[in-house]
């Protein structure tokens, strides 16, 4: 089975280069401007934020929006039932802001506003909507509970019934209203009006609550479910029991603090979410603008310093060069660039070693070779004349020549010494002797019409 090959679609070097470019670009752009929201902002997940209130609304209504600019209202409030919620705004509404809200709400078939504020910040909005209700700004203080007064608030959670909630408020403000136009729906134990509603001349149903604390995260997360029920029933009432109601929670009225500024304020941990703080701090640390420049400066000064230390400089130069080389080389297939092998021609021989030794002139003759020579000559003699080489009858059969006799006698003597042993001269070489006898044997065999050195050797005689 073939192994699957891993192929990198983008080279690591390319990725690294892009990463470097990206880091420099991000560092160049500067640190991230993370805003930390405080107060009753719907972006604040801390104790006094209204993030949970928005989350709670989203469980019931599909169209719940948090805006950071009032200009967004134009796109949201286009038709149907609309509700604009402002909880303890910290930045006042200007006349144009209020008009923006009013204009947006005028496009809806049924429009409502919920203002939950203990300060006079939202009065400008109420004024623009031409209602008679105003937040007095005077904190109601009870002799028993101090600023944490109890109040009865009556609302109509559904079309047929009316429900009265008895709630403890946290630093609530009195409301001023024209009783001929507005209808008070909430009274504190002290008798002060804390909640009122009015249908403004612009056709907007305005509900004002002299306390925004009911909608804070810490209150909604408490064990008391009455606040949740009240908040949901109130929104349901203002939405005219319409599940398709478009609800906008205003997040534009709360100043965002930068991390540096937030850190200056020691109470900020109370007003904002500590986790948001930690995340913002981590993001700041990880941002290249925090560490890239110091790191480059450190390296720069480091290289400047080591230039004066010769040995260290050389070591680093070698190490760096090696690293760069390995990086450049690892993708390449480096091979020995030799010339291509040429085709070799061969000849196969069964007796190749003997042939090669002879052709190279490295052959040596020994006693055994002499015995072989004797056997060859003796066999040929027997086959031609019918007598052995050392048989005296041989001289009767072949032309009697002196050198033949000498040759035969010498061959027979040497054969005896080679096979049976005997005295040999001190300076005696079988190699030289055999070579000499080979020459003489060739001469002798030629008399018999045979050869040992010719193309057609003695073996042809033996083949018969």
């Amino acid at each position: 089975m073939n192994k699957l090959k891993t192929v990198a679609a983008v080279a690591i070097s390319t990725i690294l280069a892009l990463l470097a470019i990206g880091l420099i670009a991000v560092a160049e752009k500067g640190p991230s401007q993370i805003q930390i929201f405080v107060g009753a902002s719907p972006f604040n997940t801390g104790l006094i934020g209204t993030f949970k209130f928005v989350e709670m609304l989203r469980t019931r209504y599909s169209m719940v929006y948090v805006i950071s600019s009032l200009s967004e209202l134009r796109k949201i409030f286009t038709s149907g039932t609309c509700l604009f919620i402002a909880v303890s705004p910290e930045v006042g509404y200007s006349k144009s802001d209020a008009e923006t809200v009013g204009d947006a709400l005028s496009k809806c078939k049924y429009a409502s506003i919920l203002v939950a504020d203990e300060s006079t910040t939202s009065n400008a909005l109420l004024e623009t909507l031409e209602t008679s209700i105003r937040v007095n700004g005077k904190i109601i203080i009870d002799a028993v509970n101090g600023p944490y007064i109890y109040a009865y608030i009556s609302i109509q959670p559904n079309a047929s019934t009316r429900k009265v909630y008895y709630l403890q408020l946290d630093i609530a403000s009195q409301l001023k209203l024209d009783f001929s136009k507005a209808k008070p729906v909430g009274y504190a134990d002290t008798g002060d009006v804390v909640a009122a509603e009015e249908l403004s001349p612009l056709g907007v149903h305005v509900f004002v609550l002299g306390d925004g604390s009911i909608f804070l995260n810490q209150v909604l997360e408490s064990n008391k479910t009455v606040y949740k029920d009240f908040a949901l029933d109130l929104v349901n009432y203002l939405c005219r029991y319409d599940g398709g109601c478009k609800i906008v929670v205003d997040g534009s009225r709360y100043p965002g603090y930068s991390l540096d500024k937030a850190l200056e304020n020691k109470n900020m941990l109370v007003y904002a979410d500590p986790i948001a703080f930690a995340a913002a701090f981590a993001a700041r640390l990880l941002h290249p603008s925090t560490w890239l420049l110091p790191a480059i400066e450190f390296l720069n000064s480091f290289f400047k310093n080591i230039a004066s230390m010769y040995n260290l400089f050389i070591a680093i130069l070698v190490a760096l060069s090696g690293s760069i080389y390995i990086f450049l080389e690892h993708r390449m297939v480096i091979v020995d660039d030799r010339r291509l092998d040429e085709q070799r021609e061969v000849e196969v021989f069964a007796t190749g070693d003997v042939r090669e030794a002879i052709l190279k002139g490295k052959i040596k003759l020994g006693k055994q070779d002499f015995l072989n020579l004797f056997t060859i000559v003796n066999t040929v003699t027997q086959l031609v004349y019918g007598v052995e080489l050392c048989n005296p009858r041989l001289f009767e059969l072949i032309p009697s020549r002196e050198y033949v006799k000498r040759y035969v006698n010498r061959m027979c003597k040497l054969r005896k010494k080679a096979s049976e042993g005997g005295f040999l001269p001190i300076v005696f070489s079988w190699s030289r002797t055999t070579a000499k006898m080979v020459r003489e044997s060739e001469e002798f065999l030629s008399l018999l019409g045979q050869s040992i050195a010719g193309e057609k050797g003695f073996e042809y005689l033996l083949m018969r």
Binding site: G322, V348, F349, D369, I376, Y460
Partner: protein, 449 residues
């Protein structure tokens, strides 16, 4: 055509450039930033050269190599033109080529390797001349390495196609004429006597006991005499050659191996037989395959079929194949089984050409010869004595020494022949100097008078 980038190989020369570039970059980082530019410039140069090489590689991928298949008679100088075709518009400037061919072929003219340039939409040719040899010999594949001008990168490609050079044995007319003289009285010639056969000899008067199917009824209708057709007595007009083509038979000097000598003998006899119109067949048993004529054939057609079978013998594989499919004994036994399929019921002559072997091989040969003889065939074992072949090419002064040194082997081979004879086989020991008619005369001499 897609060329994988990793197929471009980097040479040590490019490595030197890389090292220089790495040093310059490192020095630039540590000391002088301007040197980084120099280092990067080298890298860019290398990248450019590599890109050029990639283009050349793509062109080379589209190139083709043509190697012709040629048939020839052994001993002739046969030339092959290898064409490198470049159909692209990219010139291949430096291409080193190495042409592979059977290591048992001898190049007598031309080169095995060369540095060539292949122009665009053109071709380059390399001419190689070989000394033709019996059998089928591979020419190819061709290895090509293309390099850039500085030799920084290279691309290697092997063109796997191979051509074949097919060699048939040389047979001279003079040899054939000499053969005629030697074979007058052997079974290889016709008897010119009436008897059992297929050729028409004449007619004679009907005698009692003659087969009525042989009566010539037309003659009876016109002359009112009963005559019978007489056929020419066929003696030995069906001949099968079994040639051992295993590695033991193909050792020896160029074109002088026992196998080639045997094949030459077979071809000479077969040519002669083709003139006579006799039936012939051949089986070649190698370690890897069995080559054979599926039936005996005669005349020129038979001779040509025999030569075609010989020319299919793959010489190189018999010598260099790492995995032998059959042992020598098995090869010969398979050839025997094939012979039984091919041989007709009538008496035939079977020649088995093989060299000496061990005792087991001897027993196998005796067994084959006996079985074939029992089927009514005449079997001759032709045993080449390998030392007589291998002595060729040795200088005269060395031949005597060679014979002394290999005497034991020669004795052993002759001993093998003797043992075969003692077991009743008709054996002819032959040497490299034995020409075909000598072999035939040796056979003749063995025939009882």
């Amino acid at each position: 055509m897609v060329v994988e980038v990793s197929a471009i190989e980097t040479t040590p020369r490019a490595r030197a450039f890389l090292i220089l570039s790495a040093i310059l970059i490192a020095f630039g980082v540590l000391q002088n930033y301007e040197m980084i530019s120099a280092g990067i410039a080298i890298l860019v140069f290398l990248a450019c050269v590599r890109s050029y090489m990639l283009v050349v590689a793509m062109a080379l991928e589209k190139c083709s190599v043509e190697i012709p298949a040629i048939a020839s008679v052994e001993g002739e100088r046969i030339c092959v033109e290898i064409l490198f075709k470049n159909p692209t518009l990219i010139p291949i400037a430096f291409a080193e080529v190495s042409i592979r061919y059977s290591s048992f072929l001898k190049l007598v003219e031309g080169v095995r390797a060369a540095l060539i340039a292949i122009p665009p939409r053109s071709f380059a040719a390399i001419r190689m001349c070989f000394l033709a040899r019996i059998g089928m010999h591979r020419i190819g594949p061709v290895d090509v390495v293309a390099r850039d001008l500085l030799g920084l990168y290279r691309f290697r490609k092997s063109f796997g196609s191979a051509g074949f050079l097919r060699g048939v044995p040389r047979v001279s007319e003079a040899e054939i004429r000499r053969l005629l003289l030697f074979t007058r009285s052997t079974g290889l010639t016709r008897s010119r006597r009436s008897g059992y056969g297929t050729e028409f000899f004449g007619v004679r008067e009907y005698r009692e006991g003659d087969d009525v199917r042989r009566i010539v009824w037309k003659y009876f209708a016109s002359k009112r005499r009963l005559v019978v057709k007489e056929l020419e007595l066929e003696t030995m007009n069906r001949i099968l050659f079994i040639v051992d083509g295993t590695s033991e038979m193909v050792s020896g000097p160029y074109a002088q191996t026992p196998f080639e000598h045997s094949i030459r003998t077979v071809a000479s006899i077969a040519r002669y037989l083709s003139y006579r119109g006799d039936y012939m067949g051949i089986i070649i048993a190698s370690n890897n395959e069995l080559l054979f004529m599926s039936s005996l054939d005669r005349g020129r057609k038979g001779y040509m079929r025999l030569l075609e079978t010989i020319s299919r013998y793959r010489f190189e594989e018999a010598n260099t194949s790492k995995v032998e499919k059959f042992t020598r004994r098995n090869s010969v036994l398979k050839a025997f089984e094939k012979a039984l399929e091919i041989l007709p019921r009538e008496k035939s002559i079977v020649f088995i050409f093989t060299s000496h072997g061990d005792e087991e091989y001897l027993e196998t040969l005796v067994g084959i010869a006996t079985k074939l003889s029992l089927l009514g065939n005449e079997v001759f074992l032709v045993i080449p004595i390998t030392t007589t072949f291998e002595v060729k090419g040795v200088p005269q002064w060395g031949q005597a020494i060679y014979r002394l040194k290999v005497f034991e082997r020669t004795k052993k081979e002759l001993e093998f022949v003797k043992k075969l004879r003692s077991r009743g086989a008709k054996v002819i020991a032959v040497g490299a100097e034995h020409i075909p008619q000598i072999i035939v005369s040796l056979i003749e001499s063995m025939k009882p008078s």
